[in-house]
């Protein structure tokens, strides 16, 4: 590979990225950041937890993304009575044509490229944990058999922060497996006008399939090729370590309100997302600026508040923001 080839890869990556976001933007209005972050997670093989009140377009976003990416899409509506087998699939007794019985595996909805786990916090922890292996190892085990999932594999889970009654908050282990946690907010007024214009008037809201799974995998390779200097990587590590109250890099808010800080997965997320962010800007290197840009969605769900923090309803975003402000990049 020559320098020209590298430049070509970068340009192609940028062009595809822009194509995806632009095509998603044809249907999803006012959530450019959410779309960018979701695509970023997809391009590094991460999963996204979308948190927002009902009706802000979470499910539409996932639908649209699957359409644009030309990927197999499935949706799982999490309810309290949902069972793990409903997700991963089950062995069904079948009868041979020539007689005799056998077990046949019927794959669950997890066998797709883009899986929407809607209102994930409404299922029991037992069911939620059915996603753990799929999210981490991109495989599911049923009985004594392990089934690999197709790549690219992306889980987009949603949860409602308001209706907490009858819900099961995600365990820390599962939260940590989400690459990003994105907060979907109300769209601004101008965006609302566009939403109404598009959904209440006759017109074509169909989106084109701009990239396929192979191209997504190519983009993943390109993203991982971006070099990162040790000092910049050190900055990502200091940010991660700084989220621990006992760390020398910890800020006052961390020391006061945080029980556990981010895991090494957070540092991985910072660096990988930073690489995609750098490519988005057309750079062949990762700068501290790229790390900063992705720190909030990568760290906010990995900072676990202590009792005092919960009691005072401290927003983890505040803690991460202070951490970003208090950690030197050099």
């Amino acid at each position: 590979m020559t320098s020209a080839a590298v430049a070509q890869h970068i340009d192609l990556f940028r062009e595809r990225f822009v194509r995806i976001t632009k095509e998603v933007g044809r249907r999803i209005v006012g959530h450019e950041e959410i779309v960018n972050s979701t695509v970023t997670a997809l391009l590094v093989g991460g999963h996204v937890l979308l948190e927002g009140i009902p009706g802000v377009g979470k499910t539409s976003l996932v639908h649209t993304l699957a359409d644009v990416l030309h990927l197999k899409f499935s949706r799982i509506q999490f309810t309290p009575d949902l069972m793990p087998a409903d997700i991963v699939g089950t062995n069904v007794v079948q009868e041979h044509a020539h007689g005799g019985m056998f077990f046949d595996f019927q794959p669950g909805p997890i066998f797709a490229n883009v899986v929407l786990a809607d209102e994930i916090n409404r299922a029991t922890p037992k069911t939620q944990s059915a996603l753990l292996e799929a999210m981490q190892d991109i495989s599911v085990s049923v009985g004594k058999t392990t089934y690999k999932l197709d790549q690219p594999f992306l889980v987009l889970a949603t949860q409602n922060p308001l209706e907490m009654e009858g819900t099961y908050p995600l365990p820390e282990a599962q939260l940590d497996r989400f690459f990003f946690k994105l907060r979907v907010m109300y769209p601004p007024e101008e965006a609302m006008h566009q939403i109404l214009d598009r959904t209440t008037q006759p017109g074509d809201n169909e989106v084109a399939r701009v990239v396929d799974g192979t191209e997504i995998l190519e983009m993943r390779q390109v993203a991982r090729s971006v070099p990162i200097a040790k000092p910049v990587q050190g900055y990502a590590i200091r940010l991660t370590l700084g989220s621990h109250p006992e760390s020398p890099y910890a800020t006052p808010l961390v020391k006061r309100y945080v029980r556990y800080g981010a895991s090494p997965r957070a540092a991985q997320a910072l660096v990988l997302a930073g690489k995609v962010h750098a490519l988005q800007r057309g750079n062949a290197f990762v700068a501290a600026e790229d790390i900063k840009a992705v720190a909030l969605p990568a760290l906010r769900h990995r900072v676990l508040l202590n009792f005092e923090g919960e009691a005072e309803q401290i927003n983890p975003d505040t803690i991460v923001s202070e951490l970003l402000a208090g950690t030197k990049s050099e």
Binding site: M1, T2, S3, A5, V6, A7, S225, V226, P227, I228, A229, K230, P231, V232, N283, A284, F285, V286, A287, A288, E289, D290, S329, E330
Partner: protein, 442 residues
């Protein structure tokens, strides 16, 4: 290995940019500090004039400030090894958004693939495109430089220039006395010294000395009133140029000095000898030949008459020789001195040799003593401990090696009356325990 295309280029760029950046900062600091320090130097110069301390102080202040600033600027402007922090700072200044910093690290690191090479190439191109001179422009602060220069110049002029006297007048301070040693010309100073030296040595003819002193007095009147007064006193004393007058003068001085203790700088044994001599001279005055009562009384004792002139001269010489020894002995033992110098009523001749007991001759002997001791007194007075000699032994050695016809033997203070001996110096409190321990030691 770092790629060839940009080997160490970025390090150079970063180092140069850092040097410019630091130099700019250093000059900015210099611009702020230089006028202030020059002002301090000027203030010191004014104070030096007003308070009359050394004018070298403001110059030293100015020099130290200039040296310090120059040194600081030089240190801060030096080129240093580029580090990641430096690269990050330069990168931020040039708004390269982390590219220079990242490439700087990759350049120094070993290994690298096509992506790294591409990154370095782009970073080098971008770094070269930056106008570093425009980014770190030279500091222009003409007003500050001008102010610093004016203040520094004023401080120097005040310190080394003539206007200081006028400034002192302007601020209401009394003018420096014109008669100070600095105000005298070298020629006049040499002339004065020579004259004073010759007057004190008694080598100047009284008329000549008076004429010269009159002339100098007029000169000095224009320069220093204090010096004029001193010269007037010298003129008053100068007419005593005759031998007898000299002796008389010396006698008076010796007595006065003995009373006042002016010869404190002399060694103790010399001092005591002089005091003893002064007492004897005072006694001899009363026994002069011109005093008929005393002569009669001497005749009454049946002593021999006055010798002939030649015999007298010879006797004087012998007497002088013998007197030296007597002074030594007198200094050693006051009781013995009484016996030797007594003569007269006691009927004994204090002089050794054929002259025998001659009371009338004692006065002449005293004069001879005075003549003989005069040079010694001057020489001994000139030996100042701590100035031209360092130890007491040196004083004695110099005295004995001089032209003096007198010799002094070492006299232990204990040999004198205890009432005349000085008390030993008090033991310093700090050393008292040591001294006690030394003497109480088992």
């Amino acid at each position: 290995m770092p790629p060839d295309t940009s080997e160490r280029v970025l390090s150079e760029v970063v180092a140069l940019a850092d040097q410019r950046r630091r130099a700019q900062g250093a000059v900015q600091s210099l611009v702020r500090l230089a006028p202030a320090l020059a002002g301090v130097a000027l203030l010191a110069a004014v104070l030096a004039r007003v308070l009359r301390f050394s004018t070298a102080v403001p110059l030293l202040v100015l020099g130290a400030a200039g040296l310090g600033l120059a040194l600081t600027t030089w240190i801060r402007s030096r080129r240093r090894q580029s580090t990641d922090a430096i690269a990050a700072a330069v990168d931020a200044d040039a708004a390269l958004r982390g590219e220079l910093r990242s490439a700087h690290w990759f350049e120094a690191a070993e290994g690298g693939d096509e992506w790294t090479r591409f990154h370095l190439e782009r970073a080098v191109n971008r770094a070269r495109a930056v106008d570093w001179k425009a980014l770190y422009p030279p500091v222009r602060a003409g007003k500050s430089w001008a102010a610093a220069a004016v203040l520094a110049t004023a401080a120097i002029v005040l310190s080394v220039g003539a206007p200081g006297r006028y400034l002192a007048r302007a601020v209401g301070v009394a003018d420096q006395p014109a008669g100070s040693p600095e105000a005298l010309s070298a020629e006049l100073e040499a002339k004065l010294k020579a004259l004073l030296g010759s007057i004190e040595a008694g080598d100047v003819d009284a008329e000549a000395a008076r004429a010269t002193l009159e002339e100098l007095k007029e000169l000095m009147a224009k320069i220093d009133p204090a010096m004029q007064k001193k010269l007037a006193e010298m003129m008053k004393n100068a007419p005593l140029g005759q031998e007898g007058a000299k002796a008389k003068n010396f006698e008076k001085n010796a007595l006065a000095n003995a009373k006042k203790g002016d010869n404190q700088v002399l060694p103790d044994d010399v001092k005591w000898a002089l005091e003893d001599l002064a007492a004897k001279l005072s006694n001899a005055e009363k026994n002069r030949p011109g005093n008929p009562n005393e002569q009669a009384s001497s005749s009454d004792t049946g002593e021999k008459g006055a010798p002939s002139d030649e015999a007298s001269k010879s006797a004087e010489g012998q007497s002088a020789q013998a007197s030296m020894q007597m002074v030594r002995e007198a200094a050693t033992d006051p009781g013995a001195a009484k016996m030797m110098m007594g003569g007269g009523m006691m009927g004994g001749d204090s002089r050794p040799g054929q002259a025998g007991n001659n009371g009338a001759q004692n006065g002449a002997d005293a004069l001879l003593f005075a003549q003989a001791l005069r040079k010694e007194l001057i020489e001994a007075s000139a030996d100042m401990q701590g100035q031209n000699v360092k130890k007491e032994e040196d004083i004695r050695r110099k005295t004995e090696q001089g032209k003096s016809t007198l010799g002094f033997s070492r006299v232990a203070p204990g040999a004198f009356e205890r009432s005349r001996a000085d008390a030993p110096p008090a033991v310093p409190e700090a050393r008292r325990p040591l001294v006690q321990r030394y003497f109480i030691r088992k």
